[in-house]
Symmetry: C2
Subunit: 219 residues, 2 copies
DNA sequence: GGCGGAAGGATATGATCAAATAATCTGCTG
DNA sequence: CAGCAGATTATTTGATCATATCCTTCCGCC
């Protein structure tokens, strides 16, 4: 097919995995929504086998959840699970930010600033999807600088778990009027203050967690 | 088949997943050893599809690793990855131990003591596999008490990553003459000292990490 | 309200296709 | 003439699909 040129040499199950991952991260799949193998296979124009494999991966990462029987859905966060996520993220992500700050070159910082600028533009535009995408990109690219694959993969899984709920939050309240912790992180980065970067990232993700908590409490 | 009676109603891919997971945890698959789908399918008497799904899950959990091309093998830890694992485990597992201690009933503690007793018997017997199994069981059952599924799943993934190396270490040096941190943890648990339990577990896993580090440094 | 049957969907197999590595062969050079 | 390099084939293994079988659920009926 023509689309296979764009995907280069990536196997179908990998492409499907990334696609579904995006759907979870950026709110195309809402929390609680059931996911069927044949449905996805139809939508994505793939066979059932690659879709099955992608779903297994995403289930292992916590992006999807077995429903006891043999059904799969996007997990709905409870308050206590949100506490677990808050703890895990606060443990892992500031550390990654610290390591990243130590290794960042001026070019790396400029790149992150560009991503952050696009993020802010998306906010002003009221583009929720763009906001989520660039926010995720910012954290992902930052953590990649840390050159700590295991910790980064853990952080990726944690982001996957908060993704759907973040989407819901953004639909309700905006993200206006909140302090810009990314800006703080970038400033500290330019100043060579790795601890400051870690603190800023910790504050940033705490903001997101708190917003989700508000949303859960509101019902 | 006859074996399906023992497994109850578990789907094949789940059975295969648990089997391969055990092989990784308890040293039937050594670090660096290549893993082939068809080989496993033949050994386990299963079709390719369930094996593929199990491998995807285990790869997502870090128990197996893509080898760039399309080959899969048991990962070999580097020193810097060991540092990452040490940090992540020290962040997550003491917390789980703390939560578990708060919820543990006397019956729970008795169960853990029974597991620990079997562990010690395996050590005296020189039974490496038994030691690894009961050690894993001890941590797994302890963390299950915390009723924190997300943190427990993270801990499970971290244990999966150190499993193969632990096996190698046990083959070289014994585990003799090391302080018994499980005993410390259980004592603190009976005393209702959750912080003490967390400290003991932190010391326990640090011991394991240090042993692996010694082994890596020795080459 | 409990039971039976139909339908939708998940599981699992084997066949087929494609890719990567291993092995062999040929031709050239020292 | 021996040895090595490059290329080509062969074998092994992974990827994908189409299909058959089995659950689970839902709906109608008793």
């Amino acid at each position: 097919m023509t689309a296979s040129q764009q995907t280069g040499r990536l196997p179908t199950h990998e492409v499907v995995y990334r696609r579904i991952r995006e759907m979870v991260l950026f709110g195309e799949l809402a929390p609680g929504q059931p996911v069927t193998i044949q449905g996805l296979a139809g939508d994505l124009g793939a066979g059932m086998t690659p879709v099955r494999e992608a779903i297994r991966r995403l289930t292992a990462e916590g992006a999807l959840e077995f429903q006891g029987n043999r059904r799969v859905c996007v997990p709905v966060l409870t308050l206590s699970q949100l506490d677990e996520l808050a703890f895990a993220r606060q443990s892992i992500e500031p550390r990654l930010a610290y390591l990243a700050a130590q290794r960042a070159t001026p070019g790396d910082i400029a790149h992150l600033e560009a991503v952050d600028a696009e993020l802010n533009r998306a906010i002003e535009r009221g583009d929720v999807r763009g906001y989520l995408q660039h926010n995720h990109r910012f954290h992902e690219d930052l953590y990649a600088l840390a050159q700590a694959r295991i910790l980064a993969s853990l952080a990726g899984m944690l982001l996957l778990r908060v993704g759907p709920s973040l989407r819901v939050v953004c639909g309700r309240f905006g993200t206006y009027g909140l302090p810009d912790r990314h800006r703080d992180a970038l400033d500290a980065m330019r100043a060579g203050d790795a601890d400051g970067v870690a603190r800023a990232i910790g504050a940033d993700l705490q903001q997101g967690i708190d917003q989700i908590r508000q949303s859960l409490l509101a019902g």
